[in-house]
């Protein structure tokens, strides 16, 4: 540790820390553009100049290491003058078009110009102008505004692992761009917008839409992948205008995946905004009482075992527990939340959780990935793996389609389950080996055997010890784990999804269940679809109950680690749509099976009682593995090649399939399963 005095305040910082970090420790704010705590230090903007005792001139604090006994001054005439000079130079080639710039109001350059800018310009010469680059449908560029801090270049190369941005030419002619015009191939490209300190990289869908001070900001959770990134939903009136990430070191740091960030325009399209009932061969708009009556009428004569319920990818925990309780009231144990057919063993939580936890990845020292393209299934989690890889000594191997580009080197072992043993020696040699099984790897007839084989491998190589749990299941969407935690799986004598679809039930209640082909439902089955988008499944329904999307309800979501987090209502659901658990609750009252909760507090108490996960919001119980007994399997897996579950990253769920922005992306980027031959 080094003792540093900053403006007379003594602080202790680790050796090797920068002066800027010492200043922050002392509570002094240092202006900066190029410095970003999660990126390498570039030291090229010079805005963070401070005075250090005995140094002959101001030093760039971000790139200057501390020394014991150092005296730093952050607010002297010299420092202020130096920063004013830097600011003047930065503004020489900056267009000052703040009134038409989307960054206006949340721009680092604008804010710092208030403190260090001159009142008028002394610059009379021609300003340089730079041609805008086309880097895809998500990030808009206005390159004349660029101050060449190179944060984007470093982010693309270091965090996203797609080194496609660079600074070409030099001096006055230096430009940031891709040199060869191309759309950025990263699934994290939206973060470039956040890290750009000026308005050079802004959101294309959000261009000229709003000013930051007009927005209502609501903290929520991203559910379009299973990472559970913490987000802020910015809305105005009845519309979500943008979604940006919040910092949560344990989950998403400060990053967020593109699908979660940009698919919100799908919330306005193809919405189910009123109940519909199938009458005389066609869907007829109905009122809530009519829809409820139609369901109640159909369910009235049925024995419990002929009624089933399926919860899907985007179902929140509240509605899942309400539906489970409703089914119990009907005497039905036919529940299933594995609407994609994944053979998940629900008998023990560590069979379905990401037990190592996302933070735990940084402690691991070897990784085997089974049947998962993590880069597209959970981009933010993949960035964490990349961060671990970048720290050194981290062998990674994968089993799945050859040629996956995970943004870090990984050995391809083979296409099918038979190949996973080939990495056993490396895992055995590691202190904290990790195995990640993709949910997609279980969506096959021998899925249970794949799960059992993966667990067995993890147990054999020492990934399961009392202090380290190296077995991980990576889910795909925000609603999948919550339903498993709540035990939304076949109860005593209950039928699973396959049995229900094979004519095992006469009435089926689908809660956001879009994971299987509607054609598999027998024609005679009465289908209630409760959800928010008129996707394929809604077309098969006999009664449609319009629910709320994740931005439109106060709901609890569980990420792949088993971390329950609360999303909050940002806007109200459209039309007559309602919060999902309230729909189930209202229905139960109408049929005389009233569920014992009728406000948010009561249903949350019910959640906490159903699973301890919901009693510790935002936290995760991390631990080792006490019991090595693996999931049940009757046979060894076949060696059929793994098929990735998300063929098109940008159109993986009902919301993104309804989104124009995502449609454009899918057009530009194409199906990503088409992999190079090598």
């Amino acid at each position: 540790m080094a003792k540093v005095t900053v403006d007379g305040i003594e602080v202790e910082v680790p050796n090797g820390a920068s002066v800027l970090q010492a200043c922050e420790a002392a509570g002094k704010e240092i202006p900066r553009f190029c410095y970003h705590e999660r990126l390498s230090v570039a030291g090229n903007c010079r805005m963070c100049l401070v005075e250090v005792e005995k140094a002959p001139k101001p030093v760039a604090s971000c790139a200057f290491p501390v020394a014991d006994g150092m005296k730093v001054f952050t607010d002297t005439p010299v420092v202020r003058n130096a920063r004013r000079g830097v600011m003047e130079f930065l503004l020489i080639n900056h267009p000052l078009d703040c009134p038409i710039c989307d960054q206006g109001g949340e721009c680092d350059l604008q804010d710092q110009a208030y403190a260090y800018g001159h009142d008028s310009s002394r610059y009379g010469e021609a300003k340089r102008a730079v041609k805008d680059k086309d880097i895809g449908p998500l990030v808009k560029t206005v390159m004349t505004r660029c101050i060449q801090c190179t944060r984007c270049v470093r982010f693309a190369a270091e965090v996203a692992g797609t080194p496609e941005l660079g600074g070409t030419n030099r001096g006055e002619n230096m430009e940031i761009g891709t040199y060869v015009e191309k759309a950025l191939s990263s699934e994290l490209s939206g973060n470039l917008i956040d890290i750009c300190p000026v308005g050079a990289l802004t959101s294309r869908p959000y261009a000229f839409v709003s000013r930051p001070w007009e927005l209502k900001k609501t903290d929520s959770i991203d559910v379009l992948d299973a990472v559970g990134a913490n987000i802020r939903v910015d809305s105005r009136g009845p519309e979500v205008l943008r979604i940006i990430p919040r910092v949560n070191e344990a989950v998403n740091e400060e990053w967020m995946a593109d699908r979660g960030r940009f698919s919100f325009d799908g919330l306005k399209r193809r919405r189910l905004d009123r109940p519909w009932v199938h009458k005389d061969g066609k869907m007829v708009a109905a009122t809530w009482p009519e829809a409820f009556a139609a369901i109640a009428h159909r369910l009235a004569g049925l024995p419990g075992e002929r009624i089933g319920a399926v919860a899907g990818a985007l179902a929140d925990a509240e509605s899942v527990v309400a539906l489970k309780d409703l089914m119990a009231a009907y005497g039905s144990a036919n529940l299933d939340c594995r609407d994609d057919g994944a053979a998940i063993d629900a008998s023990r939580p560590d069979y379905w959780r990401f037990n190592t936890t996302i933070e735990g990845i940084e402690e691991a020292d070897a990784l085997l990935i089974i049947g998962s393209d993590i880069r597209r299934e959970a981009p933010v989690l993949n960035a964490r793996i990349r961060k671990r890889w970048a720290a050194g000594r981290f062998p990674v191997a994968y089993v799945g389609p050859r040629g996956l580009d995970l943004t870090y080197p990984a050995t391809h072992l083979g296409d099918g389950p038979g190949a996973m043993g080939a990495f056993a020696e490396t895992l055995k040699a590691a202190q904290k080996p990790m195995v990640i099984v993709g949910r997609g790897a279980l969506q096959r007839p021998d899925g249970a055997a794949v799960l059992a084989a993966a667990w067995k491998l993890a147990a054999e190589v020492g990934a399961l010890t009392p202090d380290w749990h190296g077995f991980n299941l990576l889910h795909l969407f925000g609603g999948q784990v919550g339903a498993l935690e709540l035990g939304f799986v076949p109860g005593q004598g209950g039928k699973d999804l396959a049995a229900m679809l094979a004519g095992g039930v006469d009435a089926l209640w689908l809660l956001n269940a879009d994971g299987f082909d509607p054609a598999r439902i027998p024609a005679s089955t009465f289908v209630v679809y409760q959800g928010h988008h008129g996707d394929a499944m809604a077309g098969r329904a006999d009664v449609i109950l319009p629910g709320a999307a994740y931005t439109e309800k106060d709901a609890t979501w569980v990420n792949t680690e088993g971390r329950a987090q609360r999303g909050r209502l940002a806007i109200h659901p459209p039309g007559e749509a309602k919060e999902d658990w309230r729909i189930v609750r209202a229905f139960s009252e109408g049929v005389g099976k009233t569920l014992p909760y009728d406000d948010a507090g009561a249903i949350r108490a019910r959640l906490a009682e159903a699973s301890p996960v919901f009693a510790r919001i935002g936290e995760v119980a991390r631990g080792g593995c006490a019991d090595l007994a693996g999931p049940a399997a009757t046979a060894a897996p076949t060696d059929a090649a793994f098929v990735l579950p998300i063929p098109v990253y940008h159109q993986a769920d009902v919301i993104s399939r309804a989104s124009d922005t995502m449609a454009k992306c899918a057009e530009v980027y194409g199906p990503q399963t088409a992999l190079a031959a090598e």
């Binding site: 190369a157 080194p163 496609e164 941005l165 660079g166 600074g167 070409t168 030419n169 030099r170 891709t178 040199y179 060869v180």
Partner: protein, 205 residues
């Protein structure tokens, strides 16, 4: 710019270049091969000059270099565009690089420039002659100030030039000759203009 120098569809090192690359790569320790990016770009430019008569670095060749050195292509683009010694656009057969820095300018680089324009049919800096023979570039000091003014034709320095001698040089190049590099006035090395003034005798005198 003539059509024959359009961006090629592909690029591959020939045997001669491969031999050079093998030597170059040996200079760097294992895992640090990216350091060889500048020498390799030179190899590319040389080979292009021999093969197509235009010494430049096409984008496909940068990709080949990136692939060979295990770098992201953008990192090679950054290097190639940073140094003006690499021509990222096709140039003429001969690259006339006129020094315009103060010593050369004081000694008449304007005349040299005028001679290049007249004899080479060039409009000015950055231009390539219609016959595709010459590209004219202004350079900063190339370190031959003692024999100013000078121009560099590709890698060869021609020094002590004036209007006439420059025209003569360019006409020779047009005929396919390659005059001996060095001083046009016959000055040996960087001796004084009228011959050596010191250390003229043997040491024993």
């Amino acid at each position: 710019m003539s059509a024959e120098h359009a961006e090629p569809a592909s690029f591959a090192f020939d045997a001669e270049s491969e031999a050079k690359i093998a030597t170059i790569l040996k200079r760097y320790p294992e895992g640090k091969q990216a350091s060889a990016v500048i020498p390799l770009l030179y190899v590319v430019q040389k080979q292009m000059g021999l093969q197509t008569g235009s010494a430049w670095v096409p984008r496909v060749a940068m990709d080949v270099v990136a692939d060979r050195l295990g770098m992201a292509p953008i990192r090679v683009y950054e290097v190639a565009t940073f140094y003006f010694m690499f021509n990222t656009k096709p140039i003429g057969r001969f690259h006339l690089q006129v020094c315009g820095t103060t010593p050369c300018w004081l000694r008449g680089s304007d005349e040299v420039l005028r001679a290049c324009k007249d004899a080479g049919h060039l409009k000015g800096y950055g231009d390539t002659s219609p016959d595709g023979l010459f590209t004219l570039t202004e350079m900063e000091c190339m370190g031959a100030c003692v024999n100013a003014p000078m121009i560099a034709v590709d890698d060869d320095y021609y020094e002590d030039l004036d209007y006439e001698s420059t025209v003569k040089l360019i006409e020779a190049l047009k005929r396919g000759e390659r005059p001996t590099p060095g001083s046009a006035t016959g000055r040996r090395s960087s001796e004084a203009a009228g011959g050596a003034t010191a250390l003229t005798g043997s040491e024993t005198e």
